[in-house]
């Protein structure tokens, strides 16, 4: 089981939710996980219903069986100042650099540096050990940038090594790449059963493979429950309206005769079933595409009541049951 679990996915597929559920799942039974956010969106804080996370590791949840989830929102500016302080004792000069816009430059515009700082911080947490020599965290889960940017984000080596051929940034990038390209890391992609996210997932996997980054699993999120099975969908197309009306009437919904309450329900209900059938067919198509990727697939259900803290624990249990942790 890789100790750095990177979760990416197309925008809107719920990658933050999946990352958080995975952190919870991995923490179950006395383990300790760190959930890392790199895009400054404070999505973790919203999900766990806490105040905005500072640039500091703090406990945000307790997993079933006594495990703990810590969270960290990595701020690239602060990470850089940290880094300057650590290696150059540049506390005061760091502030001067900030004033000049150099920090802004390094973290916003200078290619790849921001990504090195973000992945570097996550890798540092992966390798960190306490006094007794135990790893500080059993697992680090990263809520990473979306699929379209994930390979470039993780492939800091190419980005930065080309620019900084020597020097500490270069060394840092090398150290980070050693972790990211090893079996210590697994990159998971979150998708929905819709055409665009599935396409993007397939593209993302190809890019990750090409960059020799370790691809983990594909997690299909927000899967709707099967309400009508294929046999019933077949029947929807052939069933006489009058028999449905009679069944509705028998169920206590009014008269089955033309214009009766039950009869008037038939058309809208069949229409909803037809929409369901169309979507079901599209979803099956996308499932088949995902199946051809040759990666382990996990499915997480769409939570009927919307996403909240309780739902997060539910998803964590699902992930455990599907063997993801």
């Amino acid at each position: 089981m890789s100790r750095l679990q990177v979760v990416s996915g197309k925008g809107g597929t719920g990658k933050t939710t999946v990352a958080a559920a995975l952190a919870l799942a991995l923490a179950t039974e006395g383990k300790r996980t760190l959930l890392v956010e790199v895009e400054g969106r404070q999505g973790i804080a919203q999900l766990f219903e806490t105040e905005a996370l500072p640039y500091e590791e703090r406990k945000i949840a307790v997993a079933p069986g006594g495990g703990e989830v810590y969270a960290l929102a990595i701020d690239p500016e602060l990470a850089l100042l940290d880094y300057l302080q650590m290696f150059y004792k540049l506390g005061g000069a760091g502030r001067a650099l900030k004033k000049l816009g150099a920090i802004d430059f390094a973290t916003t515009v200078a290619p790849g540096l921001r990504d090195v700082l973000l992945t570097g911080k996550a890798c540092e947490a992966v390798r960190r050990k306490d006094k007794s020599g135990r790893f500080a965290y059993d697992y680090v889960v990263m809520d990473a940038p979306p699929t379209g940017r994930i390979t470039r984000f993780l492939n800091v080596n190419d980005e930065v090594a080309g620019l900084a051929k020597i020097g500490p940034i270069h060394n840092q990038a090398q150290a980070v790449m050693r972790v990211l390209k090893s079996p210590e890391t697994a990159v998971h992609l979150v998708t929905l059963l819709e055409e665009m996210p599935v396409q993007e997932t397939a593209d993302g996997i190809a890019e990750l493979h090409a960059a020799r980054l370790p691809v983990g699993r594909v997690i299909v999120n927000m899967v709707r429950p099967e309400v009508l099975d294929p046999a019933e969908l077949e029947l929807v197309r052939t069933v006489p309206r009058s028999s449905v009306a009679r069944a509705l009437s028998a169920a206590g919904l009014g008269g089955a005769r033309r214009g009766g309450n039950a009869e008037r329900l038939v058309d809208p209900l069949l229409e909803q079933a037809a929409e369901y059938a169309e979507r079901y067919a599209l979803e099956q198509e996308q499932r088949a595409v995902l199946g051809e990727l040759g990666l382990p697939l996990d499915e997480l259900p769409l939570l009927a009541e919307g996403m909240d803290l309780a739902g997060l624990y539910e998803l964590a249990t699902e992930l455990r049951e599907q063997g993801m942790s």
């Binding site: 197309k10 925008g11 809107g12 919203q46 300057l84 150059y88 000069a93 650099l97 000049l100 816009g101 150099a102 802004d104 430059f105 390094a106 916003t108 515009v109 200078a110 290619p111 979306p146 379209g148 980005e159 080309g162 620019l163 900084a164 051929k165 020597i166 020097g167 940034i169 270069h170 819709e194 665009m196 396409q199 309400v227 009508l228 019933e232 029947l235 449905v244 009679r246 069944a247 509705l248 009437s249 028998a250 169920a251 206590g252 919904l253 009014g254 008269g255 089955a256 009766g260 309450n261 329900l265 809208p268 209900l269 909803q272 079933a273 369901y276 979507r279 599209l282 009927a304 919307g306």
Partner: protein, 452 residues
């Protein structure tokens, strides 16, 4: 014990359609906006995954078919949509879209960020200098996709299209940013960086003739470049300096252009549409966006709410549907065991407006298969019962979804009652051709009548 379905139904609102009514007073009317010759730019913004690109394309098509000469700038369209519009070849210039109706024209393009950046450089530097910039590794990395570059280039392209003045309406899709606000901030940030103090500092030694120039710098500055050198490695710093020196002449241009585009966004001919779906995160982001646009004096015309669900059977509540489904789940033999006066015979006992039960073929009478062997699969009526129970459960899901969407929207409306809203019903599949876009356009424009 299941609740009495009849009772549950009685308490449900007695409206024929379940399209929930929006509480805000204003409904966004799309056609007058598109038809008004004074509308020159429509910007579609919002968080990722809410159908921004599709909305932009549908608005563009509708405006064109209503007679305007339109160009749609998309950032990251679905492959099949791009193919069907003929804009999947990345040449960074608008192409006429074939197959539109009416007297107008639709042109569309997909943004090529790197190419746009190259064009800016080429436009502002002499050929020799431009070549030096384009070959610089720092520039290559910056232009190939740095956070913020895409936003900057989208705005740059918008400025270019506007300057060409060949179209009377430009519809812009915004990049799938990590936050919806990025596209407002990034251009400014990049603009001010490229024109900033740091750049001037880095440029200074090069201007003064390389290392000799260092002597003129004060201690603070040399410490600074020294530190950067240590941090980034000497090679990188040199690349930066070369890049900066080569770019020097174009900086003024960058800043001016960023400012001009920003002003263009505030101009009266510009209309912002915030796009969202009736989901918590998307609407929260939309609310931030509404507030931010107000702060920046950018003209918001309304909210497009995509993927709104409705039901033609809204008078049957979720509870009522589930209770009825439960009734159907019980094999008939159980009912009969409980006596013919059981719940399943209730149609004749409730609903005074209903025809007498005798006029309805009584399903409980003489259904031999159910009493025979109790094998439900073999019994066609039994499978109709099961199917009907499934239809009712599907309906219950739909009604629950509806009320969840309604709650989410109410929260937005409470925060921003002043924002006009148009809703677009959810479609079961994706849109990938002009017919689909036309349909969306129609739904966008029809939002008004459906609601009133």
């Amino acid at each position: 014990m299941s609740p009495d379905p009849a009772k549950a139904q009685d308490t449900a609102p007695q409206q024929e359609s379940a399209r929930p009514h929006l509480s805000p007073a204003r409904v966004l009317d799309i056609d007058p906006l598109l038809d008004d010759p004074k509308t020159r730019i429509v910007v579609c913004c919002g968080s990722g995954g809410v159908g921004k690109t599709t909305t932009a394309a549908a608005l563009g098509l509708r405006a064109a078919e209503r007679g305007r000469k339109v160009v749609v700038l998309t950032i990251d369209p679905a492959r099949r949509l791009a193919q069907s519009m003929g804009i999947d070849s990345l040449d960074n210039v608008p192409r006429r879209v074939k197959g539109t109706d009416g007297g107008g024209e639709l042109h569309a393009m997909m943004l090529d960020m790197k190419r746009t950046f190259d064009e800016v450089v080429e436009a502002h530097a002499d050929p020799e200098r431009a070549a030096a910039i384009l070959a610089n590794p720092f520039y290559q990395s910056l232009s190939a996709g740095f956070a913020g570059t895409q936003e900057y280039m989208a705005m740059e392209k918008l400025g270019q299209l506007r300057a060409r003045d060949e179209w009377d309406l430009i519809v812009v899709d915004t990049p799938p940013s990590r936050s919806a606000l990025d596209f407002l901030d990034a251009p400014k940030r990049l603009g001010s960086f490229l024109d900033g103090r740091l750049i001037r500092l880095l440029t200074a030694p090069a201007k003064l003739g390389g290392r000799a120039g260092m002597a003129f710098l004060n201690v603070g500055m040399s410490m600074m470049t020294g530190t950067l050198g240590k941090l980034l490695g000497g090679q990188l710093l040199k690349d930066v300096q070369t890049f900066v020196a080569a770019m020097d002449t174009t900086f003024g241009g960058f800043r001016t252009r960023a400012d001009a585009t920003y002003k263009l966004l505030q101009a009266p001919g510009t209309a912002f549409l915030v796009v969202a779906a009736p989901e918590r995160d998307a609407l929260r982001e939309a609310a931030y966006f509404v507030e931010r646009l107000a702060e920046e004096d950018m003209p918001l015309v309304g909210l497009v709410l995509n993927r709104v669900h409705g039901s033609g059977a809204g008078r049957l509540s979720a509870e009522g549907a589930l209770a009825a489904a439960e009734n159907l789940d019980e094999p008939r033999i159980v009912d009969q065991g409980g006596g013919k006066a059981g719940l399943r015979n209730s149609p004749d006992t409730y609903g005074s407006s209903e025809p007498p039960a005798s006029a309805t073929p009584a399903p409980d009478d003489g259904s031999p298969a159910a009493t025979d062997d109790g094998s439900p699969a073999a019994d066609p009526e039994r499978s109709v019962d099961q199917l009907t129970a499934g239809l009712l459960r599907l309906h219950a899901d739909r009604m629950q979804l509806l009320s969840r969407e309604q709650r989410t929207r109410d929260r937005f409306t409470a925060r921003h009652p002043e924002v006009a809203v148009v809703e677009v019903p959810a479609l079961p599949g994706d849109v990938h051709d002009l017919t689909g876009l036309r349909d969306i356009g129609h739904r966008l424009a029809a939002g008004r009548t459906e609601l009133s």
